[in-house]
Amino acid sequence: MSVLYIAIPVALGIAGLALWAFARSVREGQLDDLETPAMRILHDDDGVRPPEE
């Protein structure tokens, strides 16, 4: 069971990392709009010509 002396602090550290990542993504606005990116990913980038003017 002595492995827990290492495992618990490591687990808490990983949880802290995950929280930091979550807070960062919220603060940067990655979670503000949950709908548009889902539409965006379906789009192909090719097939667009510059306008003829």
Binding site: A15, V26, D33, M39, P50
Partner: protein
């Protein structure tokens, strides 16, 4: 050719157009709309059309966006990046699907100098990054418009940003609290199980320290808001729910920390972490449910049109409504909303000023008269010189009144907060007695027992009960198309008081209808043929009545449409209008047999419309705004529930009184001829015994809706009144009002029950802790049990008896 709005998208569709679809379901502009309509109906989602009224717009030709390049406009609406690029967020009208997102985000490929374009689908906005030297905002907007969308500047960009930051930080705090609570519960499980299986001292210490670290993180991180709230409550000497919460958290935290360091006694961090999370959850739900009340500026923006036809030296140009300045000349077409206050310099027309005055009969305006922003031009094309724009207009001052009323509203003490003071006193008293008694019995456990009591007394379920019951009620009300913006409104509506109803559009149907016709049907058909070519509420009423009677429609040509209507119909010369107009046109007074019913109608609150054929008066019809079918029953039901009901209206006092009599109201409670300011004044004269509720629909009501304890806006009302009122009834029947009041009473009852449950749990827990029989395991079970039963009760109670 008659134009019927497409039943799906609202675009006017000419009858018999090649692509139009007309079937038993309705009229559609194209087969795509017909399919969408059928699909929506087959899924049982017809409610869409009720909610979507305001959003369905009609496209017209692109505007001129030259003003977007003005320095002051750029300064107000866009921000400068460090790279020298500018960023603007524009609202976009006309986005429908993923294809629109795709199209708009290809803007950098279409307009040189644009580096990025991002759509936010939910908020219908487009954020554009561009390099000022290489592209101009006007050309970007122009390109977006040519793609078929309508870009417009967002007025509330800065306030929205502040709101967003607050929302983000709340979500982060909630996530931190949740992570801490979850981890601490895992650790606590280890500790409780370890107590049975004789865990080694080293392992025990590890788990206790881990729990301590997570707990302290939870208290000082997301839990900080409670300490801040408690400090503020102490400073302002107003009891607040944060005070007992902070007390429990602080004492538990300190005792837990001391015991962790000493390596003996209870640590309370698992309970404390869960507590912080549940309390934050309750608070977050409450904030989320309460929709942000928009500023008066935002409302103003919605009332005045987005497009104005400005008369420049080189012709008439369409420009966004908010770039007009005093001195500009603008053209206002038939059916348009007047974009600014100003003097008419060309044309004669009638104008629907109900938005300002509440008067449903249009007013005739000539050269030299003042036209007001927000009113609707019904008669003919006019030109006017702009005198005032934006907040300086009459409608702007009405909306400022709204703002004033909203800021002067007395701050409302939240329901649970009122008992918080008593709660603190009770907890402290119990703690004092426990400590005193145990000191005399066994001094070594006195501190432990007292701390245990203070922690179990922490009002977790109490803090959860009110927000939960309210958010459940708001959700259920919304399903019945009653939108309530905050729990306070429900709490106020639970007790009967004074209820003021607006007349036009609230008690009545809000549109002119032909109540009676005294004359020959053939003459009415001729009149209707003529009126079909005029834009006016009276004309619409006449045409609708003729369609209902299925009268034939002869050939007709309007010659003049101001003050009355004159023209040829079916080979006869028809003149229609008020008595003076028709008498003058015929050269003879109105015969007695038509004058007599007309006089009687006026007393009933209807307006007579006389009709002459070839110089001879041949008929008269009564036009009125009929009372809704359920109005009388609703008023009776309201009075049964103990409410005092009255009418406030801008219409003529005799009309208001006759409506009041039909509803069975006391004549002195039916007040007519009121200006918006008068309504505010009357509503503000509330008495202390109960709430003052205002029910109305127009912008002219919005000041009163704000000034009332609770304002209730009704369906089809002006946007301003919807924003001003904390409650919006999305159904045309007045029965929704009764449901709202019953639902409010039920909700407050639910809150009382849940508060009772949580207080009962609390009393048991405090008693056990005081007696020294509260083991940590019992505490760990009792806390979630109380929260769960509160949640169960709040969810299982109905909003109103018959239904959800």
């Amino acid at each position: 050719m008659p134009l019927t709005p497409c039943d799906h998208c609202g675009i006017p569709t000419p009858a018999g157009a090649p692509e139009a679809v007309e079937d038993s379901a309705g009229t559609f502009c194209c087969s795509g709309c017909a399919t969408a309509y059928a699909l929506i109906h087959s899924c049982g989602l017809e409610a869409f059309y009720g909610f979507a009224d305001e959003t369905r717009t009609v496209q017209s030709k692109p505007l001129r966006y030259a003003e977007f390049d003005r320095d002051d406009f750029l300064e107000a609406h866009s921000t400068l990046e460090a790279s020298g690029d500018r960023v603007v967020t524009l609202g976009i009208d006309g986005m429908h699907c993923a294809a629109c997102v795709w199209l708009l985000e290809r803007l950098p490929q279409v307009v040189p100098g644009v580096s990025e374009a991002r759509v936010n689908w939910r908020r219908a906005t487009l954020t554009v990054h561009w390099t000022p030297g290489q592209a101009q905002l006007s050309s970007i907007a122009d390109r977006v418009a040519k793609l078929g969308y309508r870009p417009f500047p967002l007025v509330s960009a800065t306030t929205a940003r502040g709101d967003q930051a607050g929302n983000r930080s709340r979500i982060i705090q909630l996530a931190l609290a949740f992570a801490a609570a979850g981890n601490n519960m895992l650790i606590a499980t280890g500790l409780y199980l370890g107590a049975f299986s004789h865990m080694s001292d080293g392992m025990l210490g590890l788990l206790r320290w881990a729990s301590c670290i997570v707990g302290v993180f939870s208290l000082l991180g997301p839990g900080r808001t409670f300490f801040r709230g408690a400090l503020a409550a102490l400073r302002s000497r107003s009891p607040h729910m944060d005070l007992p919460v902070a007390l429990g958290l602080a004492i538990g935290g300190i005792a837990g920390l001391v015991n962790t360091v000493l390596g003996q006694g209870e640590i309370y961090f698992d309970t404390l972490s869960v507590l912080v999370f549940l309390l934050l959850l309750g608070r977050w739900m409450q904030v989320r449910q309460q929709k942000r009340a928009a500023s008066a500026l935002d409302v103003l923006y919605r009332v005045t049109p987005r497009i104005a036809h400005r008369v420049d030296d080189d012709g008439v140009h369409d420009v966004p409504g908010d770039v007009l300045v005093a001195g500009d000349r603008v053209e206002v077409r038939v059916g348009d909303v007047v974009p600014a206050d100003g003097e008419i310099i060309g044309g004669v027309t009638t104008c629907d000023q109900s938005v300002l005055t509440g008067e449903s009969v249009p007013v005739t305006l000539r050269v030299g008269d003042q036209a007001a922003a927000g009113t609707t031009n019904l008669g003919a094309v006019i030109r006017m010189r702009v005198r005032a724009v934006g907040a300086a207009t009459r409608i702007g001052s009405v909306l400022e009144e709204v703002e004033r009323a909203s800021t002067q509203r007395a701050p409302i003490v939240r329901f649970a907060d009122r008992i918080a003071g008593w709660f603190v006193a009770y907890v402290l008293l119990a703690a004092g007695i426990t400590f005193g008694v145990w000191m005399t019995l066994d001094a070594s456990v006195a501190v432990d027992h007292t701390v245990a009591l203070l922690i179990v007394a922490c009002p977790c379920a109490l803090g959860l009960a009110t927000p939960l019951a309210i958010s459940v009620a708001l959700g259920r009300a919304a399903r019945r198309k009653i939108l309530v913006k905050g729990g306070e409104a429900l709490q106020h509506l639970s007790k009967p008081g004074q209820l003021w109803l607006d007349k036009t559009g609230t008690i009545t149907q809000g549109e002119m209808t032909v109540v009676q016709w005294h004359g020959d049907d053939a003459d009415f058909a001729r009149l209707a043929a003529l009126e079909a070519q005029v834009v006016h509420p009276i004309a619409t009423a006449v045409v609708r009545h003729a369609e209902r009677l299925a009268l034939p429609r002869p050939q007709a040509k309007v010659e003049a449409g101001v003050g009355g209507v004159t023209g040829m119909a079916g080979g006869h010369r028809i003149v229609a209008g008020h008595a003076g107009f028709v008498a003058q046109a015929c050269g003879t007074p109105i015969p007695e047999r038509f004058m007599k019913p007309a006089t009687a109608w006026v007393h009933e609150g209807h307006s007579p419309l006389f009709v002459a054929r070839d110089g001879e008066v041949v008929g008269v019809c009564a036009l009125g705004d009929p009372i809704r079918d359920d109005a009388r029953a609703t008023v009776n039901a309201l009075r049964e529930r103990g409410w005092t009901v009255g009418i406030l209206s801008g219409d003529h006092p005799s009309v208001v009184r006759s409506v009041g009599i039909q509803l069975g109201l006391e004549p002195e409670d039916c007040r007519g001829g009121l200006l918006p300011q008068d309504k505010v004044r009357i509503v503000e004269q509330r008495d202390a015994s109960g709430p003052t509720v205002m029910v109305g629909d127009g912008v002219n009501d919005s000041g009163a809706l704000m000034a009332a304890t609770v304002g209730v806006a009704v369906r089809n009302g002006a946007e301003a009144s919807m924003r001003a009122a904390p409650v919006y009834l999305g159904r045309p029947d007045l029965g929704a009002l009764l449901e709202l009041l019953d639902g409010a009473r039920n909700t407050v009852k639910t809150i009382r029950i849940t508060l009772g449950i949580s207080l009962a749990y609390n009393a048991i827990a405090v008693t056990l802790a005081g007696l020294g029989t509260m083991s940590p395991l019992v505490a760990a079970l009792l806390m979630p049990a109380s929260s769960l039963s509160v949640i169960a009760v709040a969810i299982s109670r109905r909003f109103v008896k018959s239904g959800v």
